[in-house]
Subunit: 334 residues, 2 copies
Amino acid sequence: MEKITLAHGSGGKLMHQLIDSVFLEQFSNKILREKKDSAVFSLGQTRFAFTTDSYVVDPLFFPGGDIGSLAVYGTVNDLSVCGARPRYLACGLIVEEGLDRGIVERIARSIRNAALKAGVEVVTGDIKVVERGHCDKLFISTSGIGIVDRMTDLSLDRVRIGDSVIASGTIGDHAISILSQREGLNLGSRIVSDSAPLNGLTARIVSVSRHVRFMRDPTRGGLAATLNEIVTKRKFGIVIDERALPIRPSVKTACELVGFDPLSLANEGKIVVIVGQQDARRVLSVMRSHRYGTAARVIGKIVPGPAGKVILNTSVGSRRIVEMPSGEQVPRIC
Amino acid sequence: MEKITLAHGSGGKLMHQLIDSVFLEQFSNKILREKKDSAVFSLGQTRFAFTTDSYVVDPLFFPGGDIGSLAVYGTVNDLSVCGARPRYLACGLIVEEGLDRGIVERIARSIRNAALKAGVEVVTGDIKVVERGHCDKLFISTSGIGIVDRMTDLSLDRVRIGDSVIASGTIGDHAISILSQREGLNLGSRIVSDSAPLNGLTARIVSVSRHVRFMRDPTRGGLAATLNEIVTKRKFGIVIDERALPIRPSVKTACELVGFDPLSLANEGKIVVIVGQQDARRVLSVMRSHRYGTAARVIGKIVPGPAGKVILNTSVGSRRIVEMPSGEQVPRIC
């Protein structure tokens, strides 16, 4: 009988297959089929976004964050990339018997501070405790509700050939931060997770251009997964330029050391923006003036072909296909 | 250092202390302080209820249900008792590496069927996979959004001395069902969980009376916890009549066998309703005509004193205080 593997939770090919075969098949409804980071729907006179995510990151505390702030920002970001203004969060904890109460309190404080920083309120919650050995210390599930402006219409269907692909900053920081903390790797300099709330940044982006087509945060599966999600089954492809990819030298070194592709590494404070070429400069400019977008770059563009493929023009002048990641690079990343 | 124990997740005294000290202190906001089963707030022109719960029930499949349907109905019920019409659910899975894919598919089908039965849509979801031994097979977190009618105003502040306390049916079925399945107890007859969606029942109740003060589903901690939550820090108490309590003979027998108090046992398809005495008969009548309320009974009333206490008039003519449960009777119940 087929077994669930870590790769089924990696953000890559197997996860998409599992979600398609198990969830989309069972729950086929119009909202779910859009496969956005959040469900977007109207209730009464208002348009909402609604999202959920579970956080199982190991270790609970890492350079640049912890499971509490990660859970808040992750949910805030899933709402933000759909063009929503995040408002209310729900927060459920699964705690392992025997965990220090002090750790739960420290994580609760982190959730509080992250919510304050993101301008959202935690309005409802739940705690479950399971026997020792039946979960790994503590898991968090967060859900969030945001309001979507009537004028904001972000969808893959709006992407056009010629559009620019922008990345908001350096890639791979989160994954390498977790990995170096977990494995005790000495990578020379300390790499800090980029975990951050992006609602301020996304609000600015949609406020300066009506030609923003689509935004997504490249978390599990990294930029490779996000770009492939954009082109899969579409009549266009993406070409990106390796020299334009913002990657910290320390992350590049770490990747070479352990054999990782930075394109497949999770980020927790970055977005990819697809925008009409006529507004690329304007969007780039407001992004760079925001603290979470200072290193924003146009990294590529939407091209007629090869359709459904992501092509990387490498720094040595060759071309290669960037595949949807298929295995598990770093488990328990978020 | 103080450790988290199973009792911190039991629905009883320690859980309330943990929630008060960790969550209410950190996240003090008006919505959270109301401590309803769902957060209720207005956005735009619409009033919403929003709730979350994590499900860790062991075993995954039990007589009368499974973790999937339990998660859907639990969230539907938390919205329903706040007077909301449940609409959209979000569903996050945490899966242990090595679990049969067939089990995930079976649970997904159960979630689908339960959602259909309850008239809600699962619109967004998430899957995480953790290493073998780092969670127990599969956990589910569900969140839900419902719409609250402008006219519906359910709150403990509206409870008045003289109000009737109604239970919608037999108590303890869910807990004993789980326990007998888990421990392989042979209890003579098979006891089936009462897990069910109560939105139809609650909608009927609020439609026939403007004097419904408060509703709650007595899950973890059972009737004892729910009734104590109603009177805690209030200037009134509750008296209930043991002879009026609907309890199946098989559940009573099981409780005597293992030394449980049926009042403290979890239910997953029952509600407690506080209603002005003038409308008690009318509410009881619509409840009994609904499939999930056929055994509804007035079990007690709101009394001036002893304030803050729940008193049981026993079948042998004595009186005892029903305490907020303090330990853990049956862990991993939901």
